[in-house]
């Protein structure tokens, strides 16, 4: 467990740990400040100097925060605005009312509740299965030596350069043919869609996990083997627990990617009752753009909230997962 813990730290950005390096264009202004940077001494405070060193950074940061957050606040405000239309949404937070949220769940042509459930189910199933398939493959690549291993890793790298949705026509035709044999997997089937998504389960996920698996010392496996554990027991009982952080990251990234996927979902899920939020909300808002605005906003807030909350909670791990490829 300790091994895994230290690895997590190593791969995350470590917002607090690594800040001692004096960097940034103006960091070099006062070489002396680099050594004393740990204790914030405020002797002889002068505005000019403060502004030159960190003050302007606050300014830039505040501008960027406004840029980043404003559209989100705007949606939140629009969702609480009973005016309903786009033009009425420009007075930010003038009136606060939850009627849009209620209306969202009452229109049978636009079954938001179902979309939400569908999205969660498809996203969760895909994420869990992706993690499982990816972990199986990563375990094989990390722990076993077999012919074709290098080529296998290389081809995974190559294949993942091609996004699946480029072959959307072929996927559409494949599913419509599959539907003739197995109606449960054909066009319109959520199970079929999940299977399509699982086509991308290996690839970049396996790479991320493979790197992490390699950091778990082999001696743990060996000790377990001597105690008589089979490879399956080692995998399920020991390794999977030690690599839990990367499993969480891959699962979450896969969940986010799946729930936001539009191209394939839009051609597979044709019935409004089976659609996901991405497909449903797009169709909804594209019909009567300006008039549906507040209800759409309410839907957007609800759709984004869970993802954003989870993202912020697991921020540290996600960032680690993202940068694992770049920072060595």
């Amino acid at each position: 467990m300790s091994a895994a813990g230290s690895v997590t730290e190593g791969t995350t950005v470590g917002a607090d740990a690594a800040t001692q390096a004096p960097s940034g264009p103006s960091g070099g202004r006062a070489p002396a400040s680099a050594s004393s940077s740990r204790s914030p001494r405020r002797a002889g405070f002068r505005f000019g100097r403060w502004f030159g060193e960190t003050g302007w950074r606050h300014l830039v940061a505040i501008v960027m925060v406004v840029f980043a957050v404003f559209p989100l606040l705007y949606v939140l405000s629009a969702s609480l605005n009973p005016a309903g239309s786009l033009v009425g949404s420009n007075d930010l937070f003038q009136t606060v009312n939850v009627q849009n949220y209620i209306a969202l769940f009452q229109n049978p042509d636009q079954p938001f509740g179902l979309w939400f459930v569908n999205t969660l189910v498809i996203g969760t199933v895909t994420a869990v299965a992706t993690v499982f398939l990816g972990a199986l493959a990563a375990y094989a690549f990390s722990r076993m030596r077999f012919s074709g291993r290098r080529i296998g890793l290389l081809s995974l790298m190559l294949i993942q350069m091609f996004p699946q949705f480029l072959a959307v026509v072929a996927i559409f035709l494949l599913l419509s043919a599959l539907g003739d044999v197995f109606p449960v997997l054909g066009l319109g089937s959520q199970l079929g869609l999940i299977m399509v998504y699982l086509g991308g389960a290996l690839g970049v996920n396996t790479y991320l996990m493979y790197g992490f698996f390699n950091t778990v010392p082999m001696s743990i496996d060996e000790a377990a083997k001597i105690d008589g554990a089979s490879h399956a027991q080692i995998f399920f009982g020991i390794i999977l627990r030690l690599v839990a952080p990367i499993l969480a990251v891959v699962g979450l990234l896969s969940f986010i990617a799946t729930t936001g996927e539009y191209v394939i979902a839009s051609i597979v899920l044709t019935d409004p009752n089976t659609q996901t939020l991405a497909v449903g909300l797009y169709l909804f808002v594209s019909q009567q753009f300006s008039n549906n605005w507040s209800i759409f906003s309410a839907g957007a807030v609800l759709a984004a909230l869970p993802v954003m909350v989870v993202f912020l909670l697991l921020q540290k791990y996600i960032v680690g997962g993202l940068t694992a490829g770049s920072v060595k």
């Binding site: 606050h58 072959a167 191209v263 906003s297 940068t323 920072v327």
Partner: protein, 557 residues
């Protein structure tokens, strides 16, 4: 080193996943320890039996499904898919029932099968479709097309005998149960399945009312499913020229015949006025002079015609070149702007004395946590020329056509993508900056280098080494950044020099999507696949070149 250890261990235990292997080969040691070991082995063996049962059950399930699939597909004469299913199922059984050397395969197979079917196969299949005329009117075999043409334009024959009918159901499919007016035999058929004699049908007087295995619909059911009932068109026999039975009232059916007569001998259709339609070699029946064609056509291989069309058809070629240029421009601009802003922000916020750094960090990465498809729609609202917040509030009621002027729309798309994409670059650059060695930095400063010089000559090159692969990946991603474009502008404003739904902000991928699945107009799968093959090639070539260049970069440093 560690790898070798594993392989020796594997070799020492050939019955790796054998169930409960009673300890035999262990050298004799302390007796107590021995018994403890045995116990743990037995426990291990216990869960091994569980595993074995799970394995057998799963394999059994898989085999059962495969057998069922083979039967269904044999009914549809899908011989190639059958052989694929048989081979894959056989391979899976072979892998999981074997021992020892097949161990890696046991872990790789589940993911690899999905990968092969839904990623590798569909790419190859796209390649195949690109060489066909597969499209809305051309999606079946020639025989299907002939049957379908014969079934279209059916007209009731004036002297047709009246067939008494009942509507029966099996599964959710409706069938017509009728009685032959000549010999009184019970007949059953449905759309696509010609009438056949049913044995053991129940008669009410002269009229067959029930057939074994089928459920007869009552009147109210017929009324609720009226559309389905009236759309039934049951061929009288397998010869399409004999006509088909149709009913209006679910009690009497009449023979309808097409006014197009197919001649098997000449492979032609002739209509009532004597016009002859021949197979024109493009997957259609058309008149000799090509002025009229029958629909539907069928699927044929067309070689490079789709590729040639993309670059020569005046409706398509000009817009396509502009789309390709814009796709490149968008991808490059996206990488440059997001990386520039992300890096700048990372350097600004990565300062030891800056207070509230953590709060800033969380707030500026919020766009990254917001689902991308929603961002496009939200910004489309903000940028709406008439009612949007930007024009109404920020520009005091100006009507700036953010999304409807070609160049402003291109700017808007890039701008929104900057909002979406800089947090990722910010995170990556923060990580990379913090991992740079301090010493080089300090040495340069001792040597009197200016901060800008330190950044340009030392930090940036070092940073690029680690970030370059991500920039290439980002390029490839933005090359196909469907969501932003489609949700924000849908590729519009449309080009004025083509009737196709292609516009100024379309990327290749949105163009492919609209050609294949757009509303209105023909869904041209062949052309769309040809374009996606083109995208494959472009992205692959660029990535390969770029990765080579970055390797060079790495070696220099």
């Amino acid at each position: 080193m560690a790898d070798d250890d594993v392989s020796t261990l594997e070799a020492a235990r050939p019955e790796e996943d054998a169930v409960a292997s009673v300890p035999q080969r262990r050298p004799r040691g302390n007796r107590n320890r021995d018994t403890r070991r045995t116990q743990s082995r037995v426990i291990a063996g216990g869960s091994g039996i569980g595993g074995l049962i799970a394995k057998i059950v799963l394999l059994g399930l898989l085999d059962a499904i495969a057998v069922w699939a083979v039967f269904v597909m044999a009914g549809l004469s899908m011989w190639i898919p059958i052989s694929i299913v048989v081979v894959i199922t056989g391979a899976i059984n072979w892998i999981y029932l074997g021992r020892g050397k097949r161990l890696p395969a046991k872990y790789l197979t589940p993911g690899v099968i999905f990968l092969l079917v839904f990623q590798v196969f569909v790419v190859l299949y796209s390649g195949y479709i690109a060489f066909t005329n597969y499209s809305d009117g051309h999606n079946g075999s020639k025989a299907d097309a002939i049957a379908s043409i014969s079934a279209n334009g059916l007209k009731r024959i004036p002297n047709s005998p009246a067939y008494p009918v009942n509507i029966v159901e099996r599964g959710s499919q409706l069938y017509l149960l009728t009685t032959d007016p000549k010999d009184g035999a019970a007949l059953l058929g449905t759309t696509g399945h010609p009438l056949e004699v049913v044995k053991n049908a129940t008669f009410d007087g002269d009229k067959a009312v029930k057939a074994p295995g089928y459920r007869t619909l009552n009147l109210s059911e017929v009324l609720t499913r009226q559309d389905e009932v009236t759309s039934l068109s049951v061929p009288v026999s397998s010869d399409p020229n004999k006509g088909a039975l149709r009913t209006d009232d679910a009690s009497t059916a009449y023979v309808f015949k097409s006014d197009l007569i197919y001649s098997q001998k000449d492979d032609t259709f002739t209509n009532a006025s004597g016009t002859v339609f021949v197979d024109n070699g493009h997957g259609e029946f058309a008149t000799k002079d090509g002025s009229k064609a029958l629909s539907p056509g069928w699927k044929i291989d067309v070689g490079f015609a789709n590729f040639a069309r993309a670059f020569t058809d005046p409706q398509l070629a000009g817009p396509l070149w502009r789309v390709i240029l814009w796709t490149f421009a968008f991808a490059i601009l996206s990488v440059l702007t997001t990386f520039g802003l992300g890096l700048f922000l990372a350097m600004v916020l990565n300062h030891p004395k800056l207070r509230g750094k953590k709060v800033y960090r969380v707030l500026v990465i919020l766009p990254y946590a917001f689902p991308a498809f929603l961002s496009g729609l939200v910004w489309a609202g903000l940028m709406n020329p008439e009612f949007g917040f930007i024009n109404q509030v920020l520009f005091g009621g100006a009507q700036i056509p953010w999304l409807t002027d070609p160049w402003l729309a291109r700017f808007s798309v890039t701008f929104v993508n900057l909002w979406l994409g800089y947090p990722y670059m910010f995170l990556v650059c923060t990580g990379a900056l913090q991992s740079l060695p301090e010493e080089v930095d300090e040495a340069a400063r001792v040597d009197g280098a200016s901060p800008w010089r330190v950044f340009r000559s030392i930090k940036l090159p070092l940073l690029l080494v680690s970030v370059a692969p991500l920039l290439i990946a980002s390029f490839a991603f933005n090359f196909n950044n469907f969501n932003v474009i489609y949700m924000l502008t849908r590729g519009w404003p449309r080009f004025t020099d083509t009737t196709l739904d292609i516009g100024s902000t379309d990327l290749l991928i949105t163009m492919v999507y609209k050609i294949a699945f757009g509303q209105g107009g023909v869904r041209d799968y062949g052309l769309a696949s040809a374009l996606s093959i083109l995208i494959f090639i472009l992205v692959a070539v660029i990535s390969i070149i770029a990765f080579r260049r970055t390797k060079a970069l790495e070696e220099i440093n």
